[in-house]
């Protein structure tokens, strides 16, 4: 099973599409590792610089409809090779979410109110996430701030995460 802990990268914008996550010009790469330097290269957002902000992260917190656009699985891979195995947001494009769990990664929905609260308290601060998958609770901590937030994922998605993705799950079951 992958790790769902680490420093949080806040992307406070809706509709971040797969071209912004990993531009089409890198689709001729044949290894996931080769995508590493290009994650979020084309994302233009005030206060965000990919070369400065991406490297030491472990999780992304964002807004609605993350991962819209093309079906490319290069989007989760580009996150994965940068050690980002979890994206938390208000909602996700269907195929992106499926691709995340297929890779043994997580795309978890939280309500807008909770996300507002998280952004207000933690954005701009060095924030750590620790995920308790069994209990279904996220632990967020930063200097002088701590918050526990419950979350839910479907049984099948949980099974995929525990198996390390659809390849591992299918290998055990079929």
């Amino acid at each position: 099973m992958k790790s769902f802990n680490g420093k949080i990268l806040f992307l406070d914008r809706s509709d971040i599409n797969t071209d912004e996550i990993i531009p089409a010009r890198y689709l001729t790469e044949i290894t996931k590792e080769a995508l590493k330097p290009y994650l979020l290269e084309d994302l233009e957002m005030t206060g965000f610089a990919p070369e400065r902000d991406v490297a030491p992260s472990g999780a992304v917190i964002t807004r609605a409809n993350f991962g819209c656009g093309s079906s490319r699985e290069h989007a989760p891979w580009a996150l994965e090779v940068n050690d980002i195995n979890i994206v938390i947001g208000e909602s996700f494009a269907r195929i992106f979410k499926q691709n995340m769990f297929n890779c043994g990664m997580m795309a978890v929905e939280l309500s807008r109110d909770v996300l507002d609260d998280l952004m207000t308290r933690f954005a701009g601060k060095e924030t750590e996430l620790v995920t308790d998958l069994e209990a279904g609770v996220f632990h967020f901590t930063a200097a002088g701030e701590a918050l526990e937030v419950p979350f839910e994922i479907s049984d099948f998605d949980r099974a995929l995460v525990e198996a390390g993705g659809w390849v591992g799950y299918a290998d055990q079951h079929y």
């Binding site: 044949i30 996931k32 699985e73 269907r94 099974a159 659809w166 299918a170 079951h173 079929y174």
Partner: protein
């Protein structure tokens, strides 16, 4: 309660229902090409799982960029080629035998009514024309398909699109599907299988049904599907004659994959085509569609005839009829890519290639090439292409280029004048 075609196929292939409406189904075929498969191969290798579930059920082709245009595309081909060889995948099509996957595989008889098929390619829905469930998938789904021969889907929801009326002369399956997408919108069929039926579809050839199903994904559909009938059986007969005593017997067996009269649909739409005119797209989304008549005179730089949508022999015949004895406009580049070697050979035999060449077209080998802006006719920034393909996304055929999707007849007529043109001025018709 009755079942739709997709529900019947799922019921007959169900392996597991791990939870909720997730259905894991057994796959009859896994199709592979050199753009999406190499990553799946290298990942399986890294996991120490370099195996395939059944080499006879895997079909592979190098079609998107062939011959290779640079070191990266050469490497993609090499990985697929070596993998096919190492696993004894006999149905592997390389340079000389290769053609656009969704045109080549049906032609080889790899698709049957009731089949379940996946491929790492969104236009896999094309194969639904044979009464199969065929869906494009991501790389992990492809990997598991190659390894285990299964795939997980949500239980299929079906949308029925009945096409009624009679097509006017000069109006083709491409015009029908463009109009349907214009009506449904690019998300109109998301998460659904589109079951195409009605008298117009019943009267269509397999080629025309493939054109229809090919673009189901452009309305968001998981797959397109047509009920198998005598047209399907006749097309498949050379491949199934050892399995059945007669075409009638085959038809009866395939009847298992037609919808029940009391099947329950998520949505039903009747689309009347009696007054349909030739259509084309005008923007960067395939649902931005209007009659060609409203676009007449818009200049184009290139005309492309080919692809899994409209690169089959019927399409070449229609275009050649418009081009015969004429020459394309001076300012236009005409590119023809017959979709498969068999299409190319038939076109040679029928004298169509000569008509295209005399008209000033460049004829390329069978490949996807320009359709996805990879080779053999990439647009320059600011250029416009009239194309028989299926996607007009921004930059699809080259960064900064504009694509107008239309039928082969309209594309040929457009090549003759150098601006968007209704083919009826050359052929009579609407």
């Amino acid at each position: 309660m009755g079942k739709t075609i997709a529900e019947k196929i799922f019921a007959s292939h169900l392996v597991d229902n791990p939870s909720g409406d997730i259905q894991v189904i057994r796959l009859d075929a896994v199709f592979c090409h050199e753009i999406t498969t190499p990553v799946a191969i290298t990942d399986l290798e890294a996991r120490g799982m370099d195996r395939v579930f059944d080499p006879a059920r895997i079909k592979a082709v190098i079609d998107h960029v062939t011959p290779a245009k640079d070191s990266k595309t050469a490497m993609q081909g090499k990985i697929l080629r070596e993998w096919a060889l190492r696993h004894g995948i006999i149905d592997f099509f390389d340079i000389g035998d290769n053609g656009v996957c969704h045109a080549l595989f049906p032609e080889k008889g790899f698709v049957r009514p009731g089949y379940t098929i996946i491929m790492g390619d969104s236009h896999t829905c094309t194969h639904g024309a044979f009464g199969a469930f065929a869906a494009g998938v991501g790389t992990t789904d492809l990997e598991v398909g190659m390894l285990k021969g299964v795939c997980a889907f949500h239980a299929p929801q079906t949308m029925k699109v009945s096409i009624t009326g009679e097509l006017a002369a000069g109006v083709y399956a491409k015009d029908v599907i463009l109009a349907v997408i214009g009506k449904l919108g690019v998300n109109g069929a998301t998460n659904r299988v589109i079951e195409f039926g009605g008298p117009v579809v019943d009267a269509m050839s397999m080629e025309a049904r493939m054109t229809l199903c090919n673009m189901a994904i452009e309305a968001g559909g998981t797959s397109g599907i047509c009920a198998p009938d005598m047209t399907t059986v006749t097309y498949l007969w050379p491949f199934i004659q050892d399995e059945f005593d007669s075409p009638e017997a085959a038809l009866e067996a395939y009847g298992a994959f037609t919808a029940d009269s009391d099947a329950v649909y998520a949505e039903e739409i009747v689309f009347h085509v009696g007054d349909l005119v030739p259509m084309a797209t005008f923007g960067y989304k395939p649902d931005q569609v209007k009659p060609i008549a409203e676009m007449v005179g818009e200049k184009v730089d290139q005309v492309y005839i080919g692809s899994c949508t409209n690169g089959r022999i019927e399409d070449l015949r229609v275009a050649a009829e418009v081009l015969k004895g004429r020459h394309i406009h001076k300012g236009v580049r005409g590119v023809l890519s017959p979709a498969t070697p068999a299409v190319y050979k038939a076109a040679l035999k029928e004298g169509l290639i000569e008509i295209f060449m005399d008209a000033g077209f460049c004829v390329t080998n069978p490949t996807c090439g320009a359709c996805l802006g990879m080779s053999n006719g990439v647009l320059a920034e600011g250029e416009v292409c009239a194309s028989t393909t299926n996607r007009n996304f921004n930059g699809r055929m080259g960064k900064g280029g504009m694509v107008h999707l239309m039928s082969p007849a309209s594309a040929a007529a457009t090549a003759l004048t150098g601006a968007i043109t209704n083919s009826h001025i050359y052929t009579g018709g609407e």
